[in-house]
Amino acid sequence: MSVWMLYGAAAIGVFSAGVFGAFGATTHVVRRVLGVNIMGGGVFLLLVASARRAPSAIPDPVPHALVLTGIVISVSATALAMAIARALSVTRERDSPAPPRDEPPR
């Protein structure tokens, strides 16, 4: 039981680090996207950890499937975010060469 708890705690830790990263006082978009990916990592760790709670039992395959789907979704979301960020910086170059900031228009 204790091993699972260890993994659970680690997952919670990674998740909160991700949250802190995503909402941190940074101005750069990529840092936030990385933060979100770390949060994802935390969740997937918890899912995998829950696959084999009882030491003797056979590991349960369902969480692994969930993790796979989760990874696919977070990858595509990250790709979309990066594409938008790039489009944003391109248009911003054209208008004003300031570093890419993500404050929305008032």
Binding site: V19, A22, F23, E103
Partner: protein, 578 residues
């Protein structure tokens, strides 16, 4: 004689008035107008006329002339309206159309009020008469006319409010209460005192009791003569008929109310006489004479109330008195107009003679209807033992007062004999003469006298009727001699006497109202400012939403969103767990 006559009496004047509206029918209607009271006269002569009832109209229209009193009222009213009408055709020049309109509507109201069989019907016609008479008073459209009409209307409205309250108390549940059992309902109603008070004051405004008479002296000089003849002759008498119908005469002894009514009557009589004598305009003198005469009638009503036994006699006396007063006062008003048109020589002397006849009747000289009326009043007053002597004496003092008034009127109105000779137009003096004749006929026709037995002749009657007359004339001659020696003219009181102070008070309060209105306008501006401030409530909302806008702006950056998200998570967890 079916009830058609009664309905026609009311409908004919109304249709003619309506016809005046259409330009094409106007000349025809104006020509027919004087003959409008004919149906009323005819139906008053028939002795047995069934009542007319129409539930669909006016909360139950009830018209009928069941008792002799109503028929008598109807008769003299119709005669006076007829003669005043024919007199008016020649007399009225300017604004004829509007005059005839108001003349006809007032006539319809007057006849309707007399014929009314139920309280509701009476109220309708009484109100129509009151408001239409306004048109007659304001006919000249001069400032004096406007002041008189406004006073008349304000007092009439006030009176009407009281009357409405009284009628409602009388009628209670039964909407169309017939007049038959009104006195009983008044006598038995828990608010009897209030009802009688309201009735006395309400109708007192019309009859011109003291302090309620203020509009009368103003209205008569400005109204055209035929209008004032009718005003004084029939419209005021409706108040008497109303008292007879509403007050519980003979049903229940009301000594308190009866005596106070009699007292008010006497005060009015003397007050009218005293102030009347000090007037300059002959028509105002006649107005005060009417006030004084109505005072006498009220005395009879009071006596009837105080002692139920005297009630029938009182009613008969009042009815006869009203007829006599209508005829005599009517002829005096018309005579005054005729006098103004006659110059010296024979016409002047004839007119003066006519005026003298009418004046004697009013003063109650023997061989005139006035004497009979006074005699009837006397035996009503002397019937009850206690107050006999005092009331008889007061009656004769009142007679002296009337005589003084008549002398004053003759001195003012009689045409100057030495002026160049010009006779009045035929259209004027013919109806006047007929009126004089019907007035004196009233005295001699046996059927009409209250009790045919009363002998006109005989020294006793001669003396008891005659001495107040002589005393009055003597007093007048003495007074004028004294004044001529002192070289000063008689002291004069403005018509409407107390009204002058009332108007001053009203003017003061109106200035107060004007100030109040100015203050109200300032208050309204403040109110608008306050409303604007309340708009600031809108502004306060706006300020609140402005602050919200700033907070909303700050919420946009991500750190805050993160904090809020975790805060929400923590709060949810906390609430879920416990």
């Amino acid at each position: 004689m079916t009830s058609i006559g009664i309905v026609l009496a009311v409908i004919v004047p109304l249709t003619l008035a309506a016809a005046l509206g259409a330009v094409a029918l106007r000349p025809l209607a104006a020509r027919l107008a004087p003959w409008a009271p004919l149906p009323a006269l005819v139906s008053s002569l028939a002795d047995q006329t069934p009542a007319f009832e129409l539930d669909a109209a006016l909360l139950g229209l009830r018209l009928g002339a069941p008792d002799p009193a109503t028929r008598a009222f109807l008769a003299f009213t119709a005669v006076l309206w007829l003669l005043a009408g024919t007199f008016a055709r020649a007399y009225v020049g300017a604004h004829a159309c509007s005059f005839w309109f108001f003349f006809l509507v007032t006539m319809a109201g007057n006849v309707g009020a007399i014929l009314a069989g139920s309280v509701a019907t009476f109220y309708v016609f009484y109100a129509v008469m009151t408001f239409a008479a306004y048109g007659l008073v304001v006919h000249e459209r001069s400032d004096a006319a406007r002041r008189a009409a406004r006073t008349y209307l304000v007092m009439a409205l006030g009176g009407e409010i009281l009357l409405l309250a009284a009628f409602l108390l009388v009628v209670r549940e039964r909407i169309d209460l017939p007049f038959g059992d009104v006195p009983v309902s008044v006598a038995r109603s828990p608010h009897r005192g209030v009802i009688c008070a309201f009735l006395v004051v309400g109708f007192g405004v019309k009859a011109g009791l003291v302090l309620l008479h203020l509009w009368l002296p103003l209205a008569h000089p400005v109204a055209p003569s035929p209008a004032s003849a009718v005003l004084s002759g029939t419209i005021i008498e409706v108040a008497l008929l109303a008292w007879l119908r509403f007050l519980p005469l003979g049903v229940a002894p009301l000594p308190g109310l009866g005596l106070s009514l009699a007292a008010v009557g006497f005060v009015t009589a003397f007050y009218g006489a005293v102030v009347g004598v000090l007037q300059v305009d002959p028509k105002v003198v006649l107005a005060y004479s009417s006030v004084s005469q109505m005072g006498l009638a009220v005395v009879a009503a009071g006596a009837g109330l105080a002692a139920p036994a005297a009630a029938p006699a009182a009613t008969a006396a009042i009815v006869f008195f009203a007829s006599h007063h209508a005829m005599a006062k009517g002829s005096l008003f018309l005579g005054a107009a005729v006098a103004r048109e006659t110059g010296g020589g024979w016409p002047a002397r004839l007119v003066t003679l006519g005026l003298l006849v009418a004046a004697l009747a009013i003063a109650g000289a023997p061989f005139t209807s006035g004497a009979l009326a006074k005699a009837a009043l006397k035996d009503v007053l002397t019937a009850p033992s206690r107050g006999a002597g005092a009331s008889a004496a007061l009656l004769s003092v009142a007679a002296i007062g009337s005589t003084l008034l008549m002398v004053r009127f003759l001195s003012l109105a009689a045409p100057a004999a030495d002026a160049e000779e010009r006779g009045p137009r035929a259209g004027l003096w013919v109806p006047w003469l007929v009126l004089l004749a019907s007035g004196s006929a009233l005295a001699f026709h046996p059927g009409l006298r209250p009790d045919p037995r009363a002998a006109l002749v005989g020294w006793g009657a001669l003396w008891s009727g005659g001495w107040p007359l002589l005393a009055g004339v003597a007093l007048a001659v003495a007074a004028s001699a004294v004044l001529r020696r002192l070289g000063r003219a008689a002291p004069t009181v403005p018509p409407g006497d107390v009204l002058v102070f009332v108007e001053a008070a009203v003017f003061e309060s109106r200035r107060g109202i004007v100030d109040a209105r100015r203050r109200a306008r300032r208050a309204r501006r403040r109110l608008q400012a306050e409303a604007a401030r309340r708009l600031r409530l809108g502004r306060r909302v706006a300020r609140l939403s402005a602050r919200l806008q700033r907070v909303d702006g700050r919420l946009a950056d991500l750190e805050k969103v993160g904090v809020l998200l975790l805060g929400l998570f923590a709060a949810l967890l906390f609430l879920l767990v416990d």
